[in-house]
Amino acid sequence: MAETAAESINAVELVGVSRLYQHSWPALTDVNLTIEKGDFIFILGATGAGKTTLLRLLYRQDLPESGKVKVLGYDLRKMPASEVPHLRKRIGIIFQDFRLLAERTVYENLEFVLRVIGTNRKEIPGRIQDTLNRLGLVHKKDSYPHQLSGGEQQKTSIARALVKEPEILLADEPTGNIDPRAAADILNILKDINYQGATVLMATHDADLAERTRRRRVTLDAGRIVRDET
C-alpha cells in the first residue's frame, strides 16, 4: 500500500479531491494540495470552509467522493480499513476540544496511547518523561484534565499526539479554546515540533496568527482553495 521511500517525498498529496455531505452539500470541491515532508502549513478559513473535512480525509476518518488522497505514500481511497491503524500510528492529531480522558491523569493519558498502539512496556516511562519535559508538563503529570487550565489541557493533548513520535501532526483549531498567551505558547510548541522534523498542518480561522508566523498559508472558502501563499 505505501510507496517506497524514494517515491514518497510528499507528506500529503491531494489531487482533485471533492467531498459532498448528505450527497449534495459540497464540503470540499476539486482540492489540489501538495505538502512536502517537514513543512509547516496553516489551513485557513472561516467556520464551514472545509478545514476539518480536509483534516478528516488525511487521517482517513472520511473518504472523498472523487480525487486522490495520499498521505505518507498511502493511497487512502484504496486503503483497506485494516490498514488504517498503520497510518494513524504515524500521524498525531490535536483537537480544539482536547479530547482528553477525564478519569486518567496526564501521565495515564499518554500511557494509554502508547499501550494501545503496542509500544514496548519498558520504553513507555522514558518516552512519556521526555515528552512531558519537552512540553513543560512534568509537574502536572499526576493531575487530572479538570485540574488543568485550557492551555495545559491543550499541551497535554499535544503531548499525547507527540509521545508516539508522529511524522505528521494535524492540529484542528488547537488555539481555539485558549487565551492568546497560551495560544502563542502552543504555536511555539508546534513550530518546535516542526523544527524537530515533523510535518505540521494547523487548521485555524485566525488569519492574524498565521500571518505573524510567516509559514505557508492555504485558505479555504466554501470548500475550495482560494489562496496558497508562502
Partner: protein, 293 residues
C-alpha cells in the same frame, strides 16, 4: 498488544460499570437456572422412563384348569421374553396382602380368593417399545389357557409422551434463555461501549488495531456470561440438593447442566459483545457532517 493489558482494560471497564455488570450477570444467572431446572427435570424423566421400560413386566392371566408348567414353557419361548414365572391364586393373594400392608385385613373379609392365577413375563433388555409389547401381548393371548394379558404399555406410552413434551419444552426454553442471555450481554456491552465512546474514539485515532479496541469488550461480555453461568450452576446444584429431600432418587446431570450454564453463558457473552461492537463500533466511522466545523 499484550493480553495482560487487554484484561486490565476489560476489568477496569467492569469495575467502572460494576453495578450494571453484576445486575446483568444476576439476570443471566436466573435465566440459566430456569434452563438448569428443566435439564434436571428432563434428565430424571428420561431415567424414570428408561427404568420403567427396563423393569416392565407383563401379566398373562390364565385359567385355573390350565397346566402351569406347559404355560410357562410356551410363554417363555415367545420372542422377547426373558423369564416367565407362574403365580398361583394363593401366591397372588399373599402378594396382595403384602402390597396392602396395614390394610391387608380388608382381604380377610373376602370369603373366596378372587384373584386369578397368572404368568409374570419379564421382557428382555431393550425389548420395550410399544409395538414390541403389543406384539408380545397378542402372541400370549393366542396361547390356550391365557385369558387376558396386561402389558403396561399405556404407562410406557404416557411416560414417553411426557418425556417428549418436556424435551420439546427444553428446546423452547433453551432458545428463549439463549436469546434472553444474549440480549442481556448485548445490552451490557452496548452500554459499556457507550460509556467508553470517547476512549474508543481516542484509541482509533491514535492507531489502535480493531482487535485492541474490541477485545476488552469481548472479555467483558465473556466474564459476565461466565459469572452468570457459574452462579446458575451453583444455584442449580443447591436446588437439586434441596429437592433430594423430597425426591431422594433424583439425579443431577452435572455435565449437561455445567455445559448449558457455562457454555451458554460464555457463548452469549461473546456473541452479544460482537453484535454490540458491530452495531456501535461503527459510530465513529459514521461521523460525517455532524463533526464539521
Amino acid at each position: 498488544m499484550k493480553l495482560s493489558y487487554l484484561l486490565q482494560e476489560a476489568f477496569r471497564s467492569i469495575n467502572r460499570n460494576r453495578g450494571s455488570f453484576i445486575l446483568a450477570a444476576t439476570v443471566q444467572a436466573i435465566c440459566l437456572v430456569l434452563l438448569s431446572v428443566f435439564i434436571i427435570l428432563t434428565w430424571n424423566l428420561m431415567r424414570l422412563s428408561e427404568t420403567a421400560s427396563r423393569r416392565i413386566e407383563l401379566y398373562a392371566f390364565v385359567s385355573e384348569q390350565a397346566d402351569p408348567a406347559q404355560l410357562v414353557d410356551r410363554i417363555g419361548s415367545l420372542d422377547g421374553v426373558a423369564q416367565a414365572r407362574y403365580v398361583s391364586k394363593d401366591e397372588a393373594l399373599v402378594e396382595l396382602r403384602a402390597d396392602l400392608g396395614p390394610d391387608s385385613s380388608l382381604v380377610n373379609a373376602l370369603e373366596d380368593n378372587p384373584l386369578p392365577p397368572s404368568v409374570r413375563i419379564a421382557v428382555r433388555a431393550g425389548f420395550a417399545s410399544l409395538s414390541e409389547l403389543a406384539a408380545l401381548e397378542q402372541k400370549a393371548l393366542l396361547i390356550p389357557g391365557v385369558t387376558e394379558v396386561w402389558s403396561g404399555k399405556e404407562m410406557v406410552e404416557r411416560l414417553g409422551r411426557i418425556t417428549r413434551t418436556v424435551m420439546f419444552l427444553d428446546i423452547g426454553i433453551l432458545v428463549i434463555v439463549f436469546c434472553a442471555v444474549l440480549f442481556i450481554a448485548f445490552q451490557t456491552v452496548e452500554s459499556s461501549i457507550a460509556s467508553r465512546h470517547h476512549e474508543i474514539q481516542i484509541m482509533e485515532l491514535v492507531g489502535a488495531t480493531g482487535t485492541t479496541v474490541r477485545l476488552p469488550f469481548v472479555i467483558e461480555g465473556t466474564a459476565q456470561g461466565f459469572l452468570g453461568g457459574a452462579s446458575a450452576f451453583v444455584i442449580a446444584v443447591v436446588f437439586h440438593r434441596l429437592t433430594t429431600v423430597v425426591i431422594p432418587a433424583s439425579a443431577l446431570p452435572i455435565g449437561p447442566v455445567l455445559l448449558a450454564d457455562l457454555g451458554l453463558g460464555v457463548l452469549s457473552g461473546i456473541v452479544g459483545a460482537l453484535i454490540a461492537l458491530n452495531r456501535i463500533h461503527r459510530v465513529p466511522q459514521a461521523e460525517t457532517a455532524g463533526d464539521e466545523e
